[in-house]
């Protein structure tokens, strides 16, 4: 599973922040645009593209984009 592609899919859920603002280490909560609605979008994106059900709690306990990616990979196994 490729982290780079995940970062792109993650970034696509933001309307204003540019892709260049995102890396696996990005602390997504620090982004001005982050909201509970973005969290819902991330959950829906992971479900649609990766067919994995992550929860609001999974996002709450994550700090970086990579953290969410790791949770998703664990749930895939």
């Amino acid at each position: 599973m490729e982290v780079k592609k995940f970062v792109e899919n993650f970034a696509a859920q933001f309307e204003e922040s540019d892709l260049s603002a995102f890396s696996p280490e990005t602390k997504f909560r620090d982004l001005e645009e982050w909201s509970s609605f973005t969290a819902l979008s991330i959950i829906a994106m992971v479900d649609e593209i990766y067919n994995v059900k992550i929860t609001g709690d999974d996002i709450r306990k994550s700090n970086t984009v990579k953290d969410i990616f790791n949770i998703m990979e664990l749930k895939m196994q």
């Binding site: 609605f37 929860t55 609001g56 996002i59």
Partner: protein, 251 residues
């Protein structure tokens, strides 16, 4: 005045409740039984429906496991129900998904249960003359889709808005038989409808504070409104929507 005076009595009434295995449906079944009704309860989950059934007050109740979106299950249910004085449609699901991510499958999933199953079942019950003259039909709707909505709730809201439209048309169509049709529109109630985990407990806690009465509703607080609509106390009430929301839509 007699000590037994109770304009909200359901004594002698046969009442069908869908979605009775949990949440609002379960509370409606339990409270209605305490008010004297004979219940016919249905739900998808065998164990939980059994639990509701065993908690019912009094005797003469029945239960049937059914997925209301399944044709065969619906046939079985229609052939098992007695002639009814009341029907409460409480089976429902929600899904928190941003509109950008909705799919035809998600739309069908929510609408099939929240709207189609209630509409089709009502039609089948009427066709089979299983709804008595002067009976009462109650749909559990929501504040969502009728008075307001919330992020990611577009399909759910649409399905509830559709229920309110259905209730109005149905109320008119059935008025010559004196069958009454109403909805109850609750704000958030403490049930596990958000059990699938898209919304966190922290978010729910924040949301509770947004209610002028400082909390979510209790299932029985919705059930009491349903009892009013099922009872003879509301004999002149049809096509109405009873709002029960701790003041949420005032703001």
């Amino acid at each position: 005045m007699s000590v037994k005076y109770n304009p909200f009595s359901l004594e002698g009434k046969a009442i069908l409740v869908t979605g009775a295995s949990s949440g609002i449906g379960m509370a409606v079944a339990l409270e209605s039984s305490k008010c004297g009704a004979s219940l016919f309860i249905t739900g998808r989950d065998k164990e939980r429906l059994e639990r509701t059934f065993n908690s019912l007050d009094g005797l003469g109740h029945s239960k049937i496991i059914a997925d209301l979106t399944d044709e065969v299950d619906l046939d079985n249910l229609i052939s098992a129900v007695p002639s009814l004085d009341g029907i409460v449609f409480s089976a429902g699901i929600t899904m928190a998904v941003p509109f950008k991510f909705i799919t035809k499958e998600k739309l069908n999933h929510i609408f099939n249960l929240n709207f189609n199953s209630a509409a089709v079942m009502t039609q089948r019950l009427l066709q089979n003359k299983l709804i008595k003259r002067e009976a009462s039909i109650v749909f559990i709707s929501s504040i969502s889709g009728v008075y307001c909505s919330s992020p990611g709730a577009s399909i759910y809201s649409a399905s509830k808005g559709a229920i309110n439209g259905l209730a109005k048309g149905l109320a008119l169509d059935l008025s010559h038989t004196l069958i009454r049709v109403n909805t109850v529109c609750p704000g958030m109630v403490e049930t596990n409808i958000y059990g699938s985990g898209q919304i966190t407990e922290e978010q729910l806690e924040e949301d509770r504070k947004r209610y002028p009465l400082k909390r979510y509703g209790k299932p029985e607080e919705v059930a009491f409104a349903v009892i009013y609509l099922l009872s003879d106390a509301s004999k002149w009430v049809t096509g109405s929507n009873l709002l029960i929301d701790g003041g949420f839509t005032l703001l």
